[in-house]
């Protein structure tokens, strides 16, 4: 027996089947080209020398014993830093189908060790829960069968746009028209908005691809898609371009990038689509933004006006001398004023049991152009795992409650509610989005879905990949390292954005046509939906169907 002291066993030692992903490598197919090892973002593959015993099987001879051969093999590293994340890039590049990661279905011991150096576990992605989400289970069940000639999704005209911005009551509108009062600015946009992902969290190529795709949707396809920047500003060439009208500029507690934006105002050719003030995020409620130092490249440091290579945390709260209500009011007002009251301004909060109070504050604030509620299933580029997995509130009941609250005051849609967080989580983007719209949302924001659909993001809710926070994104989506983001062709991303929105548009029509709706987006059409879960149905005040 080997003396135990010569085997390196420490409390944190792991073997390959303790890891979340186990690499299956077929020696017989591998040509040792080395592509897998060089592409692996975690450097978990390494070439090692191995010795193989070749037993002598000559039956008739008296010769016994074995011979040995030495060969070069590929092995998986088993320390935490190099544990495989299952991204599958190795399999993608291997010319011989010799390697692939397989999820460990027995036990994942890294869960107990992912707090190395006293750092709690951080990652990108979103809540790791699998299976059909509540939104996936909602059915559109009010089919117009009795009196309608069915609408034809392919032939009839559909009005699918929604409004960003404060909507006055009809009485107030007419009064202001008569007296020459201020009419709050609004925008008619496609109800699926590309949610806030910052220039910084995303690579320059990803950002460029999205923007190109959005411009194509608007200018060629006639689908009025808008996208939100996220915190961290916007490249000056975009600020001064005619594409700014497709962009929602986000301001968050770090105010990163706003020097640049304010300076660019005099040179702007058009107004931005809207301003989003981030107070909270569904993936990590009560937590600020975080751009880890790995991603603070030269470009990012210039855009944000900070030194290179330092962590950029945004505080969880807006630093202010006022109470939160006052701060929200003042900030909305200030930003509205900065853009001459011509741009809708709305806050984004994380879904929460307190969302209704926020909404009621906004109702009294004439400058508030909506409320974005981001649910627990929202994604992020970097957050503590515990925030992502366990903190927050699902979006559906929160949106429903807020909508019904406004309806009771005869004010629904006056402060439009936008919903985000897990829309399209399992690929059913149009279905999820329309379910939220029928529960009362005026629009939905999609982030992770767009990364998956347009750039092939590898992340999933079994914690595949999800290393967006450390700048090693193997697809080049969330990395500031040119070697990585060069992998992502912006033109191809743009193409996928266009394809994605064309398909969403068709799906939305396919949902609306059987319901007999085509004139306006069916916001709050709760009679059209049902769910096969009695408790959920009661909570959402929709039909229970089975």
């Amino acid at each position: 027996m080997v003396p135990i002291r010569s085997v390196p066993i420490e409390p944190g030692s792991l073997t390959y089947h303790d890891l979340p992903w186990i690499i299956e490598h077929r020696e017989d197919r591998c040509t040792l080209c080395g592509q897998c090892t060089s592409v692996c973002p975690k450097e978990c593959l390494h070439l090692t020398y191995r010795r193989q015993r070749l037993p002598n099987l000559e039956v008739l001879s008296s010769k016994r014993g074995s011979e040995y051969r030495t060969f070069v093999g590929i092995r998986q590293r088993t320390d935490m830093v190099h544990s495989c994340i299952g991204c599958g890039m190795c399999a993608m590049v291997c010319p011989n189908e010799a390697i692939s990661p397989v999820p460990n279905t027995v036990e994942n011991r890294t869960l107990f060790l992912n707090n190395q150096k006293g750092e709690a576990y951080k990652r990108g992605g979103r809540r790791n829960t699998t299976g059909a989400s509540l939104l996936d289970r909602i059915m559109f069940d009010r089919i117009s069968m009795l009196t309608d000639p069915a609408l034809d999704a392919g032939r009839h005209e559909f009005t699918l746009s929604t409004t960003i911005g404060r909507i006055l009551s009809p009485e107030e509108y007419l009064k202001r028209i008569q007296q020459g009062g201020w009419i709050p600015p609004t925008r008619e946009v496609f109800p699926f908005v590309i949610g806030s992902m910052s220039f910084g969290a995303l690579s320059p190529n990803m950002w460029l691809g999205l923007l190109q795709g959005v411009a194509y949707c608007n200018e060629v396809l006639g689908i009025p898609v808008v996208m939100c920047t996220g915190e961290g500003g916007c490249p000056p060439w975009v600020l001064k371009s005619p594409y700014l009208k497709y962009i929602i500029l986000q301001i968050a507690s770090g105010y990163f990038g706003w020097d640049e934006i304010i300076r660019a105002i005099p040179d702007m050719q058009c107004d931005p689509a809207a301003i989003e003030i981030k107070y909270g995020q569904g993936a990590k409620p009560g937590d600020g933004g975080l751009l880890m130092w790995y991603k603070v490249s030269k470009l990012i440091s210039r855009l944000r006006g900070v030194p290179e290579g330092v962590d950029l945390p945004s505080p969880p709260v807006h630093q202010t001398l006022y109470s939160i209500e006052e701060s929200v009011m003042k900030m909305i007002q200030t930003l509205s004023m900065a853009f001459d009251h011509k741009v809708p301004v709305y806050p984004k909060i994380s879904a929460s049991t307190s969302a209704k109070s926020v909404l009621n504050n906004l109702v009294r604030n004439p400058y508030a152009g909506g409320l974005l509620i981001d649910g627990i299933d929202g994604g992020t580029g970097a957050a503590y795992n515990v925030s992502m997995d366990a903190t927050g509130h699902p979006v559906a009941s929160n949106v429903r409650e807020c909508y019904l609250d406004l309806a009771a005051q005869g004010m629904q849609n006056e402060v439009p509610i936008y919903a985000a967080g897990g829309v399209g989580k399992n690929g059913n983007v149009a279905q999820n989005g329309m379910a939220l719209i029928m529960l009362g949302a005026s629009a939905v924001h999609i982030g992770k879905y767009i990364m998956q659909a347009s750039a092939g993001c590898l992340g999933n809710e079994q914690n595949r990949c999800n290393v967006c926070n450390v700048g090693i994104c193997p697809k080049g989506i969330t990395s500031q390292n040119p070697k990585l983001y060069r992998r992502l062709d912006p033109d191809k991303v743009a193409e996928r954005v266009a394809e994605t929105f064309m398909a969403i548009q068709t799906d939305v029509k396919k949902i609306m046509a059987p319901l007999g709706r085509s004139q306006s987006l069916p916001v709050g059409m709760s009679d059209a939906i049902g769910i096969n879960d009695k408790d959920a149905a009661d909570r959402l005040q929709i039909k229970y169907v089975c």
Binding site: P170, S520, M525, A528
Partner: protein
């Protein structure tokens, strides 16, 4: 699909004429209900003064009848005329009703000096109607009240139009009116309930519809949230059309033409080219919650005897208007117009398209066909 017929004429006529037109269009409904609205009343046995509001409804029992009497008296109304229908049950297989009533009252003193159009007076009439309706609902539905308004009578009953007409002997010339509209209802998904029968009525404004309003629930939710008490009921998805018309005319004080711009606004692209595009875009935006959907033809009448017809945005339902000076008819089927006004030039019949509002002004000289693309008749829109 329901069938609709409206006739408006300078000379009062019997509602039975309209029921016969319904008979001509018989194929389209299942006899689950008939609703009738008469305006510009004339009674054979009473010289009716159009200042007196008429209470229309059904009492199911003597008790309900007594309660009604007492309620009206306590509220300060003086009964001037109590119309008795000659009922002939042999025509019907439905359950017996205690009393169909049309009763004209003199208003309580404090309202007598006030002209029609006075808000307090109109609210009082509506609140009285709603209070009676509520009272009936509280007592197991033994009392239904359909309208309470000067110069307006309403009848609703389950059954085929002619059956109901014969039941109430509407052919006997006892009641006549200058405007009569009727709907034969095909039962949609809301069960048979008399309050679910068209036409619907609120403060003198009434509409009826053939079709289905698929945007019903969000619109209803919004109307229910308004402080105005009359926006209630909603046993039928079409009731919101009446309430939106009321909201347009009475709450927003907009001209009739705005109705079409509210329920089926032009697209943003079309509004870009409209002379008052900016105003109308704003109106579309603030009234987005009232955009109707689904196939519908809406026919209505206003307190001044104006009649109107509008179509849904895709014109998924038929409707025809035709007539001659002094007498006009609107029906969901052409044969309905034929039956009501045979002595007209049918080549002048008009079938409105999606952008049209057909208006028959109270003078009944000619049709006004107004298009959404036309200049909007409001100075503030300029």
């Amino acid at each position: 699909m329901c069938r609709l017929a409206l006739k408006t004429a300078n000379d009062p006529f019997s509602p039975y004429e309209v029921l016969e037109a319904m008979e001509a269009m018989k194929e389209g409904y299942d006899g689950s209900g008939l609703g009738l609205l008469l305006r510009g009343m004339e009674f054979e046995d009473f010289k009716y003064n159009p200042r007196f509001p008429i209470l229309s409804g059904i009492a199911e029992s003597k008790k309900a009848w007594k309660r009604l009497d007492r309620f009206m008296e306590d509220r300060g109304y003086e009964l001037k005329y109590d119309h008795k229908f000659h009922t002939d049950r042999s025509h019907m297989d439905g359950k017996d009703r205690y009393r169909y009533f049309l009763r004209a009252y003199r208003m309580p003193e404090e309202f007598q000096g006030k002209p029609m159009g006075d808000k307090d007076k109109e609210d009082e009439l509506m609140e009285t109607r709603l209070a009676l309706r509520q009272d009936g609902e509280k007592h197991g539905g033994d009392l239904s009240v359909f309208s309470f308004w000067p110069d307006v009578a309403m009848i609703k009953e389950v059954g085929w139009p002619l059956q109901v007409g014969n039941l109430l002997s509407l052919h006997d010339g006892q009641i006549k009116s200058r405007v009569c509209m009727a709907q034969g209802r095909q039962n949609t998904n809301y069960g048979i309930n008399l309050y679910a029968c068209h036409p619907f009525f609120v403060q003198g404004i009434s509409t009826m519809t053939n079709g289905e309003n698929t945007a019903f629930v969000p619109i209803r939710d919004w109307l229910l949230g308004q402080p105005f008490k009359g926006y209630m009921g909603y046993q039928s998805d079409s009731e919101v059309f009446t309430h939106i018309l009321h909201y347009t005319l009475k709450q927003l004080n907009l001209p009739l033409q705005a109705y079409k711009h509210i329920i089926t606004p032009l697209s943003l692209k079309e509004l870009d080219a409209h002379p008052q595009g900016d105003f109308l875009k704003g109106l579309r935006n603030v009234c987005k919650r009232l955009i109707i959907d689904g196939p519908n033809a809406v026919i209505g009448t206003l307190p001044d005897e104006t009649c109107l017809l509008v179509m849904d945005q895709k014109k998924l339902r038929p409707a025809t208007v035709g007539g001659r000076q002094g007498a006009w008819a609107i029906a969901s089927e052409m044969c309905g117009v034929d039956a009501m006004i045979p002595d007209r030039d049918p080549s002048l019949d008009f079938q409105p398209m999606r952008e049209h509002t057909v208006i028959i002004p109270p003078a009944r000289k000619e049709l006004e066909i107004w298009s959404q693309y036309d200049q909007f008749p409001l100075s503030l829109a300029a």
